[in-house]
């Protein structure tokens, strides 16, 4: 243990580096933990009631993805009346929208489902490059 003599006259101060590095590392860890808190999300649209009284003709190009609840089991998925397995949904959606200009899709889910099941479908829609995903709620379906 070398002692840097600290007398009254020749003051030689050997600073300990260890506590400095400790403090530095603690600060580093603090900032590594704090930074990633940006909220992430999925953009969706809510269909608004049409302004005019004339009936809006249902477009036969609309894609409606339905999530059908199955009681306790896994829900069933349908694209416009055709049933699909969950794993087949995303490829099929990608295929449908690959050739389309207007990438619009609607999502409808049964009321007794868990929100996450529908959210997964919306996620798959975004993965298939669909930017405009509309949510069909009871009032949307009734009010049109």
């Amino acid at each position: 243990m070398g002692m840097g003599g600290g007398g009254g006259k020749g003051a030689v101060s050997e600073i300990n580096v260890t506590p400095l590095i400790d403090v530095l590392l603690v600060l580093l860890i603090i900032f590594m933990v704090i930074v990633p808190v940006t909220p992430h999300g999925l953009n969706t649209l809510i269909p608004q009631p049409p302004k005019d009284k004339t009936q809006d003709q249902p477009n036969d190009r609309t894609i409606v993805v339905q999530v059908i609840s199955n009681g306790k089991g896994e829900p069933g998925y349908k694209i416009n009346e055709d049933s699909f397995a969950k794993s087949a949904l995303e490829p099929k959606l990608a295929e449908i929208f690959a050739t389309r200009q207007e990438k619009v899709m609607f999502v409808k889910g049964d009321a007794d489902l868990d929100y996450s099941k529908v959210e997964e479908v919306i996620d798959m829609g975004h993965q298939a490059d669909v930017d405009n995903i509309g949510l069909l709620t009871p009032r949307v379906l009734a009010g049109q």
Partner: protein, 145 residues
């Protein structure tokens, strides 16, 4: 161990150790860094995960309109519980002064979808068409994307 001889009453030893002070200061800093995120008026919800989620910075803003639906089906606007019918008018009121009419939805992943749809209907009645579903980041390592 050198023993500093102190002449009583004559010299004052002012070699203050900085390290304990910095230690204490850091502990206080950590405490406040942990406490502050819990201070925003946010309801605790388990968000679902998503692969294609994009960054929604606007959700962090002070005046962001955030509707939350908990697992037991309660609906909150910010931190205040509401009933579905109150949602519409209250959201309209909040959006009056904003140019960008986007509302954010933080729904629990196990929330009943019927309740979530009721909340969406409430938001729709305020004339909002852009809704952002807030999700959990998936597979994110510590990198600000």
């Amino acid at each position: 161990m050198g023993i500093n001889k102190r002449d009583e009453g004559k010299k004052v030893n002012s070699n203050i150790n900085v390290t304990p002070m910095v230690d204490v200061m850091l502990v206080l800093l950590i405490i406040f860094m942990v406490i502050t995120p819990m201070l925003n008026n946010k309801v605790n919800v388990t968000l679902p995960t998503a692969n294609a989620a994009i960054i929604m910075d606007n959700a962090n803003k002070e005046d962001a309109v955030i509707v939350a639906v908990t697992r037991d089906g309660r609906i909150f606007l910010g931190a205040d519980p509401l009933s579905v019918d109150d949602l519409g008018p209250k959201i309209s009121a909040k959006l009056e002064n904003k140019t960008d009419k986007e509302v954010f939805l933080r729904a629990d992943e196990r929330a009943n979808y019927g309740k979530v749809m009721d909340a969406v209907d409430g938001i729709r009645s305020a004339g909002v068409s852009e809704l952002g579903l807030i999700t959990e980041q998936r597979d994110q390592t510590i990198s600000a994307k």
